[in-house]
């Protein structure tokens, strides 16, 4: 029984399975528009954001960990001193997610009844900065320092033996906060995953105040009034950041192969990895003819696909799903918004292409080190 559960979890933890599931779950858990919201309500998913839902969520997570710790492989990975913070992170992220969503749904219910949000009630109470606030902040500071010191003593930093250039650790992992980026390297060329995307993320952050002009939800938690913003944020935060980081920490083993949480990290594990470029796919498999010599001719399909993706999709979206958004934002801001959104979506799309068609690059010009 336990073994078959482990097998199932190992199978389900594979990004090929887990990632699409998570993507769909996020779509319905944090519905971005009214139609999705209706489905959410019909399925009763919102019930997770209640006390009972919280108890269910955390009992489930705890049970999973308790069950998992009986397995030596799981124990080995989870209790490694440098992985402990990530375990804590899983619980903390879920806790605060649940807390904020619970308050948001409660407020939504109040607003629907015509009442002000809970925070308006709280605002009637008064706390003095001095001494109350400063004092408790100071106490919190002391306790945090004590916690950090005790942690440092109990689980010493894993400073290993002196580095040896001829024997590098396998797997070589980036610090936990970079593991999302390292995971992207599996699907994108370094210049994209390591340079362009981080830059776009920074610029995207800067753009948020200009793109999100919804004035509702200031000073209180609400979901209903900011559905789309929250939905997009959760996709970026949970799926593209927390999930990739967790995968990188717990599920990537020697040779960056994927290993289920209950799987032994076998250094000799081999996976079939023969990938081809879009040009080869189109010319050799679909058109059954040799790949052209001319670089431009060869890669024309890739460029075309990219052109359509970044050029045509925004227009189509403006006419359909994002009609209102286009109206609200105007051409320039709408273009920036959709560009950023499409960039973010390119990762799941690339993953899908890789898994389904073994696509390595959409555009592959190794002659100029230009691969997308």
């Amino acid at each position: 029984m336990a073994e078959s559960i482990k097998h199932f979890i190992n199978f389900a933890a594979n990004p090929k399975v887990l990632f699409p599931c998570l993507l769909i779950l996020t779509l319905f858990m944090f519905p971005g528009n009214d139609k999705l919201l209706a489905i959410n309500k019909r399925l009763g998913l919102y019930k997770l954001w209640t006390k009972k839902g919280g108890i269910f969520l955390f009992s489930f997570m705890l049970l999973f960990f308790i069950f998992g710790l009986t397995d030596p492989n799981f124990r080995l990975i989870v209790t490694k001193p440098d992985n402990v913070p990530i375990v804590a992170l899983l619980f903390l992220v879920n806790f605060f997610l649940w807390l904020s969503m619970k308050q948001a749904w409660e407020n939504d219910a109040r607003i629907a009844k015509g009442q002000p949000p809970q925070e308006a009630e709280d605002a009637k109470e008064k706390i003095l900065v001095w001494p109350d606030l400063v004092y408790i902040e100071f106490i919190a500071l002391i306790l945090c320092s004590a916690l950090l010191l005790a942690w440092a003593c109990a689980l010493p930093a894993p400073l290993e033996e002196p580095a040896n250039p001829s024997v590098s650790p396998n797997p070589s992992k980036a610090p936990w906060y970079f593991l999302g980026l390292q995971e992207m390297l599996v699907y994108f060329d370094p210049w994209l995953a390591g340079v362009v995307f981080p830059t776009i993320i920074m610029l995207g952050f800067m753009c948020i105040p200009f793109l999100d002009n919804n004035k509702k939800g200031c000073g209180y938690y609400t979901f209903n009034e900011r559905k789309m913003a929250i939905s997009i944020f959760m996709f970026l935060w949970l799926v593209l950041w927390i999930f990739l980081m967790t995968t990188g920490t717990f599920l990537r083993g020697p040779n960056w192969n994927f290993f289920g949480p209950f799987e032994y990290w076998d250094i000799h594990k081999l996976e079939a990895l023969t990938n081809i470029n879009l040009s080869e796919y189109i010319y050799m498999i679909l058109l059954k003819q040799p790949v052209p010599e001319n670089i431009l001719l060869r890669e024309i399909w890739g460029f075309l696909a990219l052109g359509l993706y970044f050029g045509l999709t925004p227009i189509l979206l403006a006419l359909t799903f994002l009609k209102n958004v286009f109206k609200q934002l105007g051409v320039l801001r709408y273009s920036i918004f959709t560009f950023l959104l499409l960039c973010a979506l390119s990762l799941p799309i690339k993953m899908f292409l890789r898994w389904a068609f073994n696509i390595k690059y959409i555009v592959a010009i190794p002659e100029f080190f230009f691969n997308i």
Partner: protein
């Protein structure tokens, strides 16, 4: 701000604040404790307690020894008396003491005044010089002159006063000292006697808190407190910095630093031999660590030999290596030990520590003291690992296996098939490894394939075999006589006949005995003609053979052939040879064809080939794949690269480069090497491989003991990084010695001769001969065996003239005609001969190639004296020594070499030393000692040459050099005697 406006209860917050602060404080305390408590500090404290205890015990024994020493007791009595006398006579003179004190005070103050004035004087002198230099200011000059004169006179007066004061003081002091002189002398004597005790008690005062003064006790407590311990703590990291051993820390080389002695505190102190680790003394202080040893701690440290991480100061970071899985588990529990995965040179396991010797001593054949490593190296030589694996040390060694280019003349196809299929079945102790019936080719399909592979290989070998014309054996031999010859002339130095009686441990001796193949079943293997031509002239069949020529006569050779050909192996004959299967041969051939051709082309080519061609083609490919040419000379493979991995730096190989496959053994290098040697193909276990991918290393069926030794050697094959200054110095002498040792090892000289204190393996078979043929009892044989064995070559460089040695090695002549064992003729080239000459001379630190002049000058009187000494009146030299053609009387075990050889053979200086004290040059020699080394100047006969021993020896030497020196014509005349001698040698055997 009203009280009601407060959100929190301030008292509760205060309590919370207090609690939080206490928690922070305790966390901080934890941090301090954790940072302060290091495992090595505990060791140092424990060691100190141990040291105090040891010192106390020693102090007690030293005090009691002193107390029972009569000399000391007498001294004590005397001392008491002297003290009383001193008190009585000198102490009373208090007035004098007082006067001395006041004089001393006066003197001190004068001294001080003098120093002040002297500095004033110097300053005044400087000012005067400056004033003279600037003639403008005349007034200034006058003033300076006056000042200078004043100070000078003052200084002068003070000088006079000081001197007179010192004189007075000295006079008074002398009076006082005279009074106490005797006491002072006695006290000095007491200190001398009690030096050991005083040293120990002083040491105890330093280390034992109980013996310390109060102030020192306080200091002792405070020294090791946190933060204060930065100054001069008791517990501190101790280290050796080795400037000439460099450590590579990536892009930078730094001196090696070993901190092992931080915990291994008693390592160079013989007092801790029985203490528990980590304090135990090194087991061999004579060779290592001691100041007088060849590897002092300050110059070699620890990790250069043992491996491990010298800078590590706890159990794990020092990269300790457990000897077994159990020990690893024990360490994990006890010391929280973990493997240092990234450290390239982990400590060598205890059983393989000797591996550390190799990197500096790689050139030597025998590393004194490293028995296991030596055995491993010898096994590598004997098994011929270097045939397939390039190893720097063995780069120019001859191929280990026989030449196969004329194989058809030697063995039959059937025999060759059976031999390849299972060499051990024919000769159980052969060094030829097995390629078949191994763990990765024993499945039915591989077995069928294997049979046909052997057919192909045999076919190739015989097709490429050259002509080897053999004449008929000129005479018929006698097997019985042949056996006597084989047992006596020295075949048993390298060969054995019959099943191997030696069981169990492999030793240097047993390896020397098995230098050549066991001659079991030779009659089944080859023809009489081949054996005859082989023993008569081995290089004719195998030009690079190490088998020497024993100069057998035709008749002797025929006898030997008859005997050896009678060796049969009936069981071996019964094995049936499977028939040739063209289908399987096709499959094998096709597989090889496909490697260079497309499937279709390969198929076409195969169809066009005859069975012969197929066998020839696949035979060649198979020999190439299995690497037969690594050990054997095979036509068509002369230029091939060695088939195996290079092993020169195998011990430095990173663990992850060793494929453990699915074999569940410890993930360590020694375990992998041992497994590889135990079953070379085992790493294919459970692997799905096609034939081409399979492991090809054959199995030598080494014993566990052999594997252990070879693993040690392999671990020693490391990259010599940063130790250039520690390698055995590359002086010409050392290089000569290493070159000579190599030849000696290759030709198995030590099987007959004792060289560098090792060898003489053949004595056992000589003993057997004496028992069997001369009817001696075992004890008698053991007593005289040395007389009938090849000579001990200790001091050979000092003893013989280089020219003679050169000639002798090139063309041996008989020196000891009573020996049945013969010095064989080797096919040495001039390089070999020179190397051996240089070797023997370098070993004895003799200048080479210089020799003394042979001195034959004698006056009439000296000549007569020498004759007398030589005669039976005195030394009776001819009683044992052969003189020209004249043989001595008595039994041959007492005979000694011919004096006629002395002039050309022996170095004149050596003869003098030899006569003076033969036992010193050759321990255990039969030569009597005529001159007592203890009482040399009275040992010679007093009535000859005024009893001057040096002259007696000199004239005797010069006399010997005049005895019937063989002229060239005589030599050529005598040369046949060399050939004849063996006949007389076997004569007794024939008569029996």
């Amino acid at each position: 701000m009203g009280k009601d406006e407060r959100h929190y209860n301030i008292n509760n917050l205060n309590i919370l604040f207090a609690c939080a602060s206490l928690i922070l404080l305790s966390a901080l305390g934890w941090l301090f404790v954790k940072d302060y408590s290091r495992p090595w500090k505990k060791h140092q404290q424990d060691f100190r307690a141990l040291e105090v205890e040891q010192t106390r015990v020693k102090l007690d024994s030293s005090s009691s020894a002193l107390a029972s020493n009569p000399e000391y007791q007498a001294l004590q009595e005397e001392l008491t008396k002297a003290r009383e006398a001193y008190n009585a006579q000198c102490r009373q003179n208090e007035a004098l003491q007082k006067e001395i004190k006041s004089l001393q005070a006066h003197d001190d103050s004068l001294q001080q005044q003098y120093r002040f004035t002297k500095s004033e004087f110097d300053a005044a002198r400087y000012r005067l010089e400056i004033a003279k230099e600037h003639p403008g200011a005349a007034a200034y000059l006058v003033k300076a002159q006056k000042e200078y004169a004043d100070v000078e006179s003052k200084l002068h007066k003070l000088l006079v006063d000081t001197q007179s004061s010192a004189d007075t003081l000295k006079a008074k002091n002398d009076v006082n000292a005279q009074c106490g002189a005797q006491l002072a002398e006695l006290e000095r004597k007491e200190r001398e006697l009690a030096r050991q005790k005083n040293f120990l008690s002083r040491k105890l005062e330093n280390i034992d808190p109980g013996e310390m003064t109060f102030v020192n006790q306080m200091a002792n407590l405070i020294r090791d407190l946190p933060i204060i311990d930065l100054a001069n703590p008791n517990n501190k990291i101790k280290q050796v910095v080795l400037k000439d051993i460099r450590e590579d820390v990536n892009f930078l080389e730094v001196p090696k630093v070993d901190r092992c002695i931080t915990c291994h505190l008693g390592i160079d102190n013989p007092d801790y031999a029985n203490m528990p680790q980590p304090f135990r003394t090194h087991p061999n202080l004579e060779l290592y660590l001691g100041k007088e040893s060849t590897h002092p701690l300050e110059e070699f440290g620890c990790t250069v030999c043992h491996g491990g991480r010298g800078r590590g100061t706890d159990f794990t970071t020092a990269a300790h290596t457990p000897s077994s899985e159990e020990q690893a588990q024990e360490w994990e529990k006890k010391y929280r030990w973990q493997e240092m995965r990234l450290w390239e040179e982990p400590m060598l396991p205890l059983a393989q520590t000797e591996a550390g010797c190799f990197k500096c001593h790689a050139g030597q054949s025998t590393i004194k003291g490293a028995d296991k490593l030596n055995l491993g190296l010898e096994l590598i030589e004997k098994a011929g690992c270097y045939g397939c694996h390039f190893i720097e040390k063995y780069k120019d060694w001859p191929q280990p296996g026989p030449d196969l280019t004329k194989i058809a003349a030697k063995v039959s196809k059937e025999w060759a098939y059976q031999w390849i299929e299972n060499p051990k079945a024919f000769r159980p102790d052969t060094r030829m490894p097995s390629f078949y019936h191994l763990s990765n080719n024993s499945d039915p399909e591989s077995m069928i394939r294997g049979e046909q592979e052997i057919h192909a290989i045999v076919h190739y070998l015989f097709q490429h075999s050259e002509e080897f014309p053999m004449e008929k054996i000129p005479s018929t031999g006698d097997a019985h006589r042949g056996q006597d010859i084989v047992e006596s002339v020295g075949c048993f130095a390298c060969h054995q006949v019959g099943s191997n009686p030696q069981e169990g441990k492999t030793t240097a001796d047993s390896l020397r005995r098995e230098h050549g193949p066991n001659l079991i079943g030779l009659g089944r293997k080859t023809t009489k003609e081949w054996i005859y031509h082989w023993v008569k002239n081995p290089p004719r069949y195998h030009p690079a053979t190490r088998m020497p020529n024993l100069r057998l006569t035709d008749q002797e050779a025929a006898d030997v052939v008859e005997y050896l050909a009678s060796q049969q192996t009936p069981e071996f004959d019964q094995q049936a040879i499977p028939a040739l299967d063209p289908q399987v041969v096709d499959r094998i051939t096709l597989e090889f064809l496909k490697k260079s051709l497309s499937n279709k082309a390969a198929g076409e080519k195969l169809a066009a080939m005859t069975l012969d061609e197929k066998l020839l083609f696949s035979g060649e490919k198979l020999i190439g794949s299995y690497g037969c040419y690594g050990c054997h000379t095979i036509a068509g493979f002369e230029e091939m690269k060695k088939p195996g991995t290079e092993l020169t730096e195998e011990g430095s190989k990173a663990l992850h480069n060793l494929d453990f496959g699915f074999v569940h053994i410890d993930h360590t290098k020694p375990a992998w090497f041992a497994q590889k040697l135990h079953d070379p193909r085992s790493f294919d276990k459970d692997k799905v491989k096609i034939w081409e991918e399979k492991l090809k290393m054959p199995n030598f069926y080494f014993s566990e003991q052999e594997i252990d030794a070879m693993t040690t050697a392999l671990l020693g094959f490391v990259e010599a990084k940063g130790i250039q200054d520690k390698i055995v110095p590359r002086t010409p002498e050392n290089l000569y010695i290493e070159e000579g040792q190599k030849i000696i090892r290759q030709l198995n000289c030590q099987s007959c001769h004792m060289i560098e204190g090792e060898g003489g393996t053949i004595q056992e078979s000589v003993k057997q001969w004496l028992i069997k043929h001369d009817g001696k009892s075992a004890d008698e044989a053991a007593a005289i065996v040395l007389s009938f064995s090849p000579p001990n070559l200790v001091g050979e460089g000092k003893k013989v003239q280089p020219q003679w040695l050169f000639d002798f090695l090139h063309q041996p002549t008989t020196i000891r005609p009573w020996l049945k064992v013969r010095m064989p003729t080797y096919t040495f080239n001039a390089d070999h001969l020179n190397s051996l000459l240089q070797y023997f001379n370098a070993l004895d630190k003799e200048p080479f190639p210089f020799t003394d002049n042979v001195d034959v000058n004698l006056t009439q009187e000296e000549y007569l004296a020498a004759e007398k000494l030589f005669s039976d009146e005195y030394f009776d030299c001819a009683k044992c020594h052969i003189v020209g053609d004249k043989m001595p009387g008595g039994s041959p075990e007492n005979w000694a070499p011919n004096f006629a050889l002395a002039k050309t053979r022996l170095k004149p200086g050596w003869i003098l030393e030899w006569m003076k004290n033969p036992a010193a040059l050759l321990p255990g020699t039969k030569m009597p000692t005529y001159f007592d080394p203890e009482n040399y100047h009275e040992s010679g006969p007093p009535d000859i040459l005024n009893g001057d021993e040096d002259t007696q020896i000199r004239v005797l030497r010069n006399y010997l050099n005049t005895i019937a020196p063989l002229t060239t014509s005589q030599e050529t005349k005598k040369n046949p005697e060399v050939k004849e001698a063996p006949e007389t040698l076997v004569a007794p055997a024939v008569s029996k």
